[in-house]
């Protein structure tokens, strides 16, 4: 599904260059739930934004279903984001002045659908993330976990094949974090490919695959934890 070929992303190319990503090669297959794991500043968000068609690499290319996304025009890249991707941001990025329903509807704002169909779809999505009855609450009137679910709902509403989540549990206590992770797991089970960034050890247990990153390099050890012998981790992950 996604193929990164020798992707290097260098910030400040004139001054002191920072290789946020260095010659990264990665394949993410359809239906996977993968966790990108690494310490702070290792380039996780950069990797996610490159895959998210928002951050053109300095070198290398990214193919999605065989198409080199960054060779498309900016507007086509935007269309790609709209049709292929759902983002769950680290800071959630809900607009505080819009209700839960309206925040979810933002994901459909440019979709060519009838207004009533959009509202219908957004309500269904909110029900699916367990927020039925709270459609008209503002983010400030929702708990942290509920806000996270609105963010997931927004990522989900245009039914993207790929969901990109940057530290979806970052601001949450472990209980509410688990709710979000479970939700992502359910979405993965329902056919969405999920790519999640985390530095939270507990979170990695929900993924099928761990992609370690260190100083911008995808280091060896990329492994499928479904094949991991440790039953404790396995059991957690399969919950």
């Amino acid at each position: 599904m996604i193929e990164l070929c020798d992707v290097t992303k260098t910030y400040n190319p004139q001054g002191a260059p920072v290789h946020a990503l260095y010659q990264a090669n990665l394949r993410v297959n359809e239906g996977e739930f993968a966790a990108i794991v690494g310490p702070s500043g290792s380039g996780k968000s950069t990797l996610l934004s490159v895959i998210g068609a928002m951050n053109p690499p300095t070198q290398g290319s990214m193919l999605v279903d065989g198409i080199d996304v960054y060779s498309l025009s900016v507007e086509k890249q935007a269309d790609f984001r709209h049709e292929y991707l759902g983002f769950v941001f680290q800071q959630l990025q809900l607009l505080p002045y819009l209700t839960a329903l309206e925040n979810v509807l933002l994901g459909l704002a440019i979709a060519r659908m009838r207004r009533a169909d959009k509202v219908q779809r957004a309500r269904e999505v909110l029900a699916r993330v367990g927020l039925a009855g709270k459609e008209d609450r503002l983010p400030g009137e929702l708990s942290g976990g509920e806000q996270g679910r609105v963010a997931v709902g927004r990522a989900l509403v245009n039914e993207p094949p790929l969901i990109l989540a940057d530290e979806p549990t970052g601001n949450l206590d472990s209980n509410t974090g688990v709710q979000i992770l479970t939700l992502l797991q359910e979405l993965n089970a329902a056919g969405h490919t999920v790519l999640m960034v985390t530095h939270d050890a507990q979170a990695t247990t929900y993924a099928q695959r761990i992609i370690p990153i260190l100083d911008g390099r995808l280091v060896d050890g990329d492994h499928d934890i479904t094949k991991n012998e440790n039953p404790a981790i396995n059991g957690n992950g399969k919950r």
């Binding site: 934004s49 998210g52 928002m54 951050n55 900016v74 507007e75 935007a78 269309d79 790609f80 984001r81 709209h82 049709e83 991707l85 983002f87 941001f89 800071q91 990025q93 607009l95 002045y97 819009l98 309206e102 509807l105 933002l106 994901g107 459909l108 704002a109 440019i110 207004r115 959009k118 927004r154 245009n158």
Partner: protein, 409 residues
């Protein structure tokens, strides 16, 4: 939720600042609407009522040297004319190049007659032309029969000739200036004997402060008979409408065809007024330009500020797959709503100001300020300024890098 909803929500969110922007635009529009309405009505009244202000060219016989003053204009001596000017001499004026600028041509024969043992000035006039020239005249009683006939469409010369041939009705009827009537104790309906001829007074002019208050007005032909000067005139007053040609040029053209007359331009109130209005118009244009520019700059800075403030939100929209064009539409959509509202409010406020000023500015009272074209122009102009001022902010917003924008928390 559509782009347009996002625009509206964005406006609601920054309601205070957007209302301020709306108010700025509305103030600018109100200023422009007021200025345009006032200057337009002034220009309109100057151009269309020039003849109301009387003559701006006079012709007297070339050879006259002794003076009788009439209306502040020195005319040939009533008693001792040397040179002569005939009514028929005026005919060529009809064929000068700017003939169509001559709106009224009022020839007369002014002479002194004795009336109840005192000297009074008698003016022989062609009443329709005279009345058209002196639109401020108000008469008690009536004008002579035929005096208010169909307005003079052709030049006085032609008309006078035609009148002479046809013979004039109301020939023995006279109109008196108010002071003269008062001094002689005469009123409409009374009879008067002038040089042995019986005249019926049909009207007395209301006092207007000019020399007309002292004058006896009779038909030109009658005056010529009384003075034994058939066909002769010694004063012609002309009202020329000259917004596109200098009066001096008209004077030159008339002098060319009328060598026996002395043609002079009279600098009268309306000329001064026209110049004032011209200056006011130029001033209005400058003010309008400045106000428009300031309006555009206010839109520019406000919208730029809004974009900077919302770059984070815009980054989110871009991440969600909004095209650059979508972002532009959101920003310009907000500008559109603000401009429309500003245009409507401003136009209404401007018309309000005009309504308040109406009693104090004569010209405003004379013309109707309700002009749909002005309303459309106000709306269209505000839209153009609002959108033009928002174009750069919109482009800036669209060009925001989503990754950078989202990081900037």
């Amino acid at each position: 939720m559509r782009l347009y909803d996002i625009s509206l929500k964005g406006l609601r969110r920054r309601l205070g600042r957007m209302l301020l922007l709306l108010l700025s635009l509305a103030t600018a529009v109100a200023t422009l609407v007021t200025l345009v309405t006032i200057t337009r009505s002034m220009n309109h009244s100057v151009a269309h009522r020039m003849d109301e202000f009387g003559a701006n060219i006079v012709i007297v016989p070339q050879a006259s040297d002794l003076a009788v003053s009439y209306g502040g204009i020195t005319v040939g001596s009533a008693a001792y004319d040397v040179g002569v000017l005939m009514l028929a001499d005026l005919e060529p004026i009809g064929s000068i190049r700017n003939a169509r600028n001559v709106s009224v041509l009022a020839p007369k024969l002014v002479s002194a007659v004795s009336l109840e043992s005192r000297e009074v000035l008698m003016a022989g006039v062609i009443f329709p032309d005279e009345i058209r020239l002196k639109q401020w005249w108000q008469v008690h009683g009536a004008y002579p029969v035929g005096a208010t006939d169909a307005p003079v469409a052709t030049l006085g010369g032609h008309r006078a000739m035609a009148q002479m041939e046809a013979g004039v009705s109301g020939a023995d009827q006279a109109v008196l200036g108010s002071r003269l009537a008062h001094e002689l104790g005469l009123a409409p309906g009374d009879m008067l004997v002038v040089e042995g001829r019986n005249l019926q007074i049909v009207g007395v002019l209301e006092e207007n402060g000019s020399q007309d208050d002292q004058i006896l007005f009779v038909d030109l032909t009658l005056a010529q008979q009384i003075a034994h000067r058939p066909g002769e005139i010694n004063l012609v007053e002309i009202a020329a409408l000259c917004s596109d040609c200098p009066v001096e040029e008209l004077v030159r053209q008339i002098s060319e065809v009328l060598p026996q007359g002395r043609v002079t331009a009279v600098r009268q109130a309306v000329t001064l007024r026209a110049e004032t209005v011209d200056q006011l118009t130029r001033f209005a244009v400058v003010v309008s330009a400045v106000v428009t520019l300031i309006g555009g700059l206010i839109v520019l800075t406000t919208m730029l500020g809004a974009v900077t403030e919302r770059r984070h939100e815009i980054g989110l929209f871009r991440a969600l797959g909004f095209r650059r064009a979508h972002i532009e539409r959101v920003i310009l959509g907000e500008a559109l709503v603000i401009s429309l509202a500003g245009g409507i409010v401003g136009w209404a406020a401007g018309m309000g100001v005009v309504a308040l000023l109406r009693p104090t500015i004569d010209e405003l009272a004379m013309t109707s300020p309700w002009d749909p074209a002005l309303a459309l122009a106000a709306l269209g102009g505000t839209l153009v300024v609002g959108l033009a001022g928002s174009l750069y902010p919109a482009l800036r917003a669209a060009a925001l890098d989503p990754v950078t924008a989202l990081r900037a928390l």
